[in-house]
Symmetry: C2
Subunit: 194 residues, 2 copies
């Protein structure tokens, strides 16, 4: 086997950010495999700062969606940007909230090695995203599309946590095209930054 | 095949933080597979803020090691901690610098979506670490063991970059034991943080 034929690399190559999902549920067995991969991610001084909040409850997700729609209009107005029809914003958020489940990656800010827990959160998120893809699911690493403060409020998250991201997991309506990436030659430097 | 039998999960389960390496070089083909996995990691708004500095030059690594040894003693003194013999600090850093190569994950602070590039750096680092493990290599996500400011100075890194971490890649002298982790039941919450 050529080293690049290891199935790990196929998972990496097939991963794309998906936004539009079918409502089909993710079996508990799969969710546990995905979260266990997060559990085993590298972390600072083994402080295990990450916690995972799984949200499937449609009522809660709808409440969060409505809050996002109202917030989006406010943010655009405050910025002086053009505000689209409410229906367009709603349509956008119907897509954002189309997945059957969402995992919030939270980090405990009261841990020993402060500051590093933010890195731990992203390391765990990378494991979630790749594990989900290995099982055939789409994901996306959402931050401001679903603002942290709205999650804290509507999902009743204690203040000791900070949110790294919120990740929908589900079967994409269709797999999106991969985004263009710069070639390795522009990203990698040997011995010295040119 | 059971879903958990996907080779991705084996890579995750086998990954541990390794510190003590054999000097055997990492073939260029393997390094490129590893860095290409980083290139394909999720990132904010496809801004591609991450750059990878590969350092193999033993002279440069030795210079950085000497700087780390001097710095370590200073930090301990400043903290009022007990300062071990210089030989003990040196022995520690002989291990830290035992790998045949080091990848610094750098993020460009001048990108469009500021703040998010730090998350991008850790996502890319997770891909490097897993890709290396898939190919049989050990790694560890170093931050303060090899302080960022010493890397900036001794590896001549422009100020526009911030360092996410520095990752040795190589064949471990021996594979360390896995660190203990909390069970999933203490890390995962359904619908609400208990």
């Amino acid at each position: 086997m050529n080293p690049g034929d290891h199935p790990f690399f196929k998972v990496v190559e097939q991963r794309v950010s998906a936004r539009n999902y079918r409502p089909d549920p993710v079996p508990q067995e799969h969710l546990e495999l995905i979260l266990n991969a997060a559990r085993l991610a590298p972390n600072s001084g083994n402080q295990q700062a990450c916690r995972y909040l799984v949200v499937k409850d449609r009522e809660k997700l709808d409440e969060l969606k409505e809050a996002c729609i109202i917030n989006r209009e406010k943010v655009l107005r405050a910025r002086g940007d053009e505000v689209p029809e409410e229906s367009a914003i709603r349509e956008h958020y119907d897509v954002v909230f189309s997945a059957p489940l969402y995992v919030l990656v939270l980090v405990d800010k009261t841990v020993r090695y402060k500051g590093y827990e933010q890195k731990d959160g992203s390391l765990a998120a990378a494991h979630i995203i790749l594990a989900a893809r290995a099982l055939g699911y789409g994901t996306v690493f959402y931050t401001d599309s679903i603002p942290e403060d709205l999650c804290m409020e509507h999902l009743d998250i204690p203040e000791r946590y900070s949110r790294t991201c919120i990740i929908p997991i589900g079967t994409p309506e269709r797999w999106p095209e991969k985004s263009d990436r710069l070639p390795l030659s522009e990203l990698v430097f040997l011995e010295k930054i040119a």
